[in-house]
Symmetry: C2
Subunit: 340 residues, 2 copies
Amino acid sequence: MSLSQANVAVVGATGAVGEQMLAVLEEHEFPIGELRLLASERSVGKKIRFRGKEHAVKLLDENAFEGIDIVLSSAGGSVSEKFCPIAAQAGAVCVDNTSAFRMDPDVPLVVPEVNPDDIALYKSTGIIANPNCSTIQMVLVLDALNRVNPIKRVVVSTYQSVSGAGRTAMEELANQSVAIFNGKPVEKKKFPHQIAFNCLPHIDVFLANAYTREEMKMVNETRKIMGIPDFRLTATAVRVPVFSGHSESINIEFESAITPDEAREVLGAYKGITVLDEPEHNVYPVNGDASDKDDVFVGRIRADESVEHGLNLWCVSDNLRKGAATNAVQIAQILRERYL
Amino acid sequence: MSLSQANVAVVGATGAVGEQMLAVLEEHEFPIGELRLLASERSVGKKIRFRGKEHAVKLLDENAFEGIDIVLSSAGGSVSEKFCPIAAQAGAVCVDNTSAFRMDPDVPLVVPEVNPDDIALYKSTGIIANPNCSTIQMVLVLDALNRVNPIKRVVVSTYQSVSGAGRTAMEELANQSVAIFNGKPVEKKKFPHQIAFNCLPHIDVFLANAYTREEMKMVNETRKIMGIPDFRLTATAVRVPVFSGHSESINIEFESAITPDEAREVLGAYKGITVLDEPEHNVYPVNGDASDKDDVFVGRIRADESVEHGLNLWCVSDNLRKGAATNAVQIAQILRERYL
């Protein structure tokens, strides 16, 4: 089966991720019949340009999904919890960018390069979950390497941009930075501490085991996507004062020997990864350079002599692109081509 | 022996570290006979206030050290290479904050909480090396824990402020940030890529093994300070767009079991460490809060389930204080009290 054109609804079209969803749908020339932009009452009537045409935002309610084939949802967990089942009931398939259904055993959690066949599992619920941004970019790297040399253990520390916390978080970083340069008091709303010129080891809420939910997402989602329930990984997730792009310092221990050159070759050949690794010319991935790009960038690949078979590397991606919108649109594309 | 008052020369008194040296000498009420501020020609004559009195900067030359007991040097590696032996020849003891002599087997490398007895080894060369900022704050934590439970392996990723690269680096972060908010072009001088709103996995130069010199300092200096030549540690050093304070995500594997509570107790009892670890109240170390403080702050202490006996933690300190000036002044204090 293949649908030559899909009717697509974007839920949360006015948000930071929604904006990127539309940009990626355009860039990827996604074949769309009807495009329906859905949001809460306060955004209804707003006009958004797509492919040179203005589209008015419509109200997200229980009747909003009639005739829709694919829903791209990114308006928050509680919105998805309520409306994804409704959309599925109406016959659409939801690609949900929130954490609402990610760990639901009946819902597939998909990164197309890693586990594309899991998309077929959407049939039981009508929902496919898009993983967390920090997980997606990392799991591409881990899967690429794990296919050639089984991974024993991963230690990851993240450097995550404020864009992952939405538009208000980006405004807070900008406003606080400007206030500091003008000698004005810093106002805090979105983050519990000043984010301007500070690194905060705190993303999402703290859990009973003293990890943040963001850190445990990296552990649990990686296990589900890779299909390895006991995959050994420990994470420290840190918000840094940058506007866009997540960086990750990833330490990997392997079952058997692997050289940095072999890793470079394997990663460079993997779909969706670009290797930028010429330190002698100051070439390595930098978050700002990844903006609005779909790829995951990897560099600083080097042998870790503190274990028998180890590597360190630096992994960067635009968290709103491959970490959210791009991955969702890729799933939608496979859905349209193979399943609808 | 004990010198009731020491004649102290500060080399590089006008730099970012030199300024903190003077602040710490004041705050610690270091008993000083004569204070001599030394710098290169372009700073000669500049006036600097110390204990309510103006001191004119004098020329750093071969005759500058007569009558001096202790030299605190932080004007760059090449300056120390030339002038520390001259000062030692003139009868002074140099506490050198540069990397010039750190790995010299005849020069002790000292963090007073960890290896105070190594100070005695100054006698062969007249020089004591002050370790690198990122090493000092980490080695306090490692030593505290290693004393109660031998460490098998450490994986560290750093989040280092621009102040470690000096005043011009701080200006570059400020200027680039302001330029961005004003829509002006960003000028790069000190850093090879834009540092404003970017994380750069690049501190100091790249070595043949693809690590940076900063990363290898963390490995080699830690081994020397702890006196464990095969201590297993791997590092990723990252410059982040913050003005002051280094943060470190440290993963530690131990020989035997240790709980987060035990680690908190051991760290809290160690001189120079303050534990800030109440995630339920958003209490954890933040670089900006560590400014102008002497302590190393530790939080986010939690069990790492990916190894048999593991912990993750978050370690923050003012890199110009305990990472440089405070550690040097502490060494000088022990010198004065016990050896001069």
